[in-house]
């Protein structure tokens, strides 16, 4: 899933300064699941903004809505009535959500309330970690299902650097050295030969940015 994080209120306040009526839009998919932009977070941000504007003596009216997926044009179009009532939209979706809303409503300024961080998974309650770099050329078959591109601080393909420190990464001693994990996993599966192979430099053309995938329907 896509993992995002709320921007500091200070930044959001700056974006919407001067508007008297705004719409905050949540997204019901990834960012709800990572507690960043679901209906609850919309309500929290809305409450915070009301309190802040009250404190500063500003007038601010907020409409709230949370849609299934902000990255779908048809679903975003359903916001039309509400968008027409406001001067600006604050999106609590990922970057794709912000851009979809901005595209559907080109006359209305759309601002991001979140920082989209990475593709990842929950590690514990309220903790999400990056596990996929969306590099477009999946390498996991060679590394026992542990991605060195994301989980090695240097993204090395041919083994660890000299900074492995008792199985931890020298860059962040909290984090495991991905190559130690890969070694252990492949050893467990009797597949160390895979690790002994030399892998040439990555093909950065696997995704020509901006990425695009075209598929014929099966």
């Amino acid at each position: 899933m896509i993992v995002a994080e709320r921007k500091p209120l200070e930044d959001i306040k700056e974006m919407i300064a001067g508007y008297k009526k705004i719409l905050i839009v949540g997204c019901g998919t990834c960012v709800t699941i990572c507690w960043a932009g679901g209906e609850k977070e919309v309500a929290v941000l809305s409450s915070q903004l009301r309190l802040a504007s009250k404190k500063n003596g500003n007038e601010l009216e907020i409409l709230e809505d949370t849609i299934e997926r902000q990255c779908e044009k048809e679903l975003v179009e359903a916001l039309k009535d509400k968008v027409q009532q406001v001067e600006a939209v604050l999106s609590m979706g990922c970057g794709a959500g912000v851009q979809t809303i901005a595209e559907i409503f080109p006359d209305t300024p759309v601002y991001p309330a979140l920082n989209t961080k990475f593709v990842g998974m929950p590690e514990g309650e309220g903790i999400w970690v990056e596990t996929c770099r969306a590099c477009g050329d999946c390498f996991l078959d060679k590394t026992g299902g542990i991605c060195p591109i994301v989980r090695c601080a240097k993204g090395l393909l041919n083994g660890p650097c000299g900074g492995t420190n008792s199985g931890k990464c020298e860059v962040d001693p909290e984090k495991d050295c991905a190559w130690t994990l890969i070694y252990r996993r492949l050893e467990q599966q009797g597949r160390l030969d895979t690790m002994r192979k030399y892998y040439p430099p990555r093909n950065f053309q696997a995704v020509i940015r901006p990425g695009k995938v075209e598929t014929l329907q099966a």
Binding site: V44, S47, Q48, L51, K54, K55
Partner: protein, 138 residues
Amino acid sequence: MKAKEAFLPDIIAFCCAQSAYQAADTAGSMRIPYPENIRVIRVPCAGRVDVLHILRAFEKGADGVLVLGCHEEACRHLSGNIRAKNRVQKLNTLLQEVGIDGERVEIFTLAPNQGFRFARIANEINERIKELGPSPVK
């Protein structure tokens, strides 16, 4: 000074029915006085109290909010009190962002028989909020 004396803060106390609410009852039964401007809202567990409930309390004009739950390791719902503690911590940040002093929200733990403790907490927070003055978003 005079203004401070005249200021009677609105304080909301979310009280866990398993402990703090009963502690408030105990205070009453023992005729231990505490400020009458502390308004108790009974909840099934401190873990039921949502960040939103507290934010709304400030929107409605509260000057201070207490969350009162069970002592650690004595929560009937195991983690309810710990969750409440974490939420209050999160709330401190959310309120600071808005420009409301995080000290206006506090969590304490009590046992049902701690009437004196309830009254002491009520007095303490009342004094603290008086010191801080009315909520800036009132």
